[in-house]
Symmetry: C2
Subunit: 245 residues, 2 copies
């Protein structure tokens, strides 16, 4: 049976009992993703615990990613979807929404280059073929979060640089204008040091580490279309996943 | 139909054609994991290409993780299992074997401490409870690869420090002596800067980045038993995974 009150005779500290109770309501679905949590005053009243205890428990649940606070609005049950970023191709916009940030994008540069050998190999094209390169600064709540450098096989999407990628999601342009849907990707995750150029764009000090993802994305025809480099600020971004035996 | 020779009239460079041919044999299973690849001389003869071309193609396949070289033995088809490290709980030993390294372990320290609040929360125990802490240096081909700090709820595995973890895998001791099987885990992946202490143990210069994993592992009874911190040398270790739309 599900316990919904504090056992005052137990040796288990109140904060831990309250933690188990509230966690249970979320995990078992009594409180659903997006639901507003009861205000602190109500939890104090209902469970007869101190404000400190309530805050400690809410802090724990925030840390665990089960709930999140929105300034001026209250505390909400989180969508348990963070680990999707490790299994599904999702856009920066979706990723930030799951993390409860407001996403933003600035285009740093866009140009056509001839393919260097390392990228030619990844995209299975000849050296010297044209690549369209789009470099975007990604913002979360107005602060730099990451830099994304997309290298696209220009032959598959001629003139793709004519669109403004501060406004248009790149994947949407690929689908709408070129009938290319990126349905599969392979990625490598590393830690690197920020170069001076990246540190400046990301507004971080030197030396700082970055979480670095290299991703090759394949179309519905299994063609490698995009090689993507993502440089995440390590102080703002981490990956989460679950493992089974 | 599957092409097994170079089209000499095609505009596609030979190296790329050979790459597609050899890759096809691996991906389609003509050559199986563990199989030895034909020697360079045989590939040169069979496909009528230069030694340079063969080497370039083999380098590409090594980079992709499809084959690996063993000094003095030859080139082999790799086991396509690297991404399991992102989905399954596997031991350091298994992980290194998949990466074709010889694993090794040195115990840096082992002691009992009282649980600090941050770890108490992760393990859902009271502050001040006893934790058994085991710090191991992990080696790959005799060179430092990572540091693992395990924090175990001592109450679940009393006297666990009496075993020598240079010789005994920790998970094996947990299963054999305490009937605890870690069957589920949650982890967070970040980039951090190496502290002086870690840099010294890992034999890297300062400043250097590390790939940092924090993992909570749960028993068959859904009890959080272990909190693990893994600090990987970023110049030697990366994670790989695949994504779907």
């Amino acid at each position: 049976m599900f316990v919904d009150n504090i056992n005052r005779r137990s040796k288990i500290p109140f904060y831990q009992q309250l933690y188990e109770i509230l966690r249970g309501k979320i995990v078992q679905g009594d409180w659903k993703p997006g639901d507003m949590m009861p205000p602190e005053s109500e939890l104090i009243e209902q469970y007869q615990v101190s404000r400190n205890t309530v805050r400690q428990v809410l802090d724990l649940l925030v840390q665990e990613g089960l709930i999140y606070r929105q300034r001026g609005r209250g505390t909400f049950v989180a969508h348990p979807t963070l680990e999707q970023t490790m299994l599904r191709i999702i856009s920066f916009t979706e990723d930030m929404q799951q993390r409860n940030f407001v996403p933003g994008t600035e285009v740093v540069s866009s140009k056509v280059i001839t393919t260097p050998i390392e990228i030619a190999e990844k995209l299975q094209i000849a050296e010297g073929e044209e690549l369209a390169v789009i470099e975007r600064l990604r913002l979360a709540d107005g602060e730099p979060m990451s830099i994304e450098k997309s290298f696209l096989v220009h032959r598959y999407c001629p003139n793709i640089l004519r669109y403004d990628y501060a406004l248009n999601p790149l994947r949407q342009v690929l689908e709408r204008e070129y009938r290319i849907k990126l349905i599969h990707a392979r990625q490598i995750i590393r830690a690197i040091m920020a170069s001076g150029e990246l540190a400046e764009l990301l507004k971080i000090q030197m030396p700082s580490p970055l979480l670095f993802i290299e991703r090759v994305s394949f179309s519905q025809d299994s063609l490698p279309v995009e090689y993507l480099e993502i440089f995440y600020r390590a102080d703002r971004y981490s990956l989460y996943n679950e493992l089974q035996d």
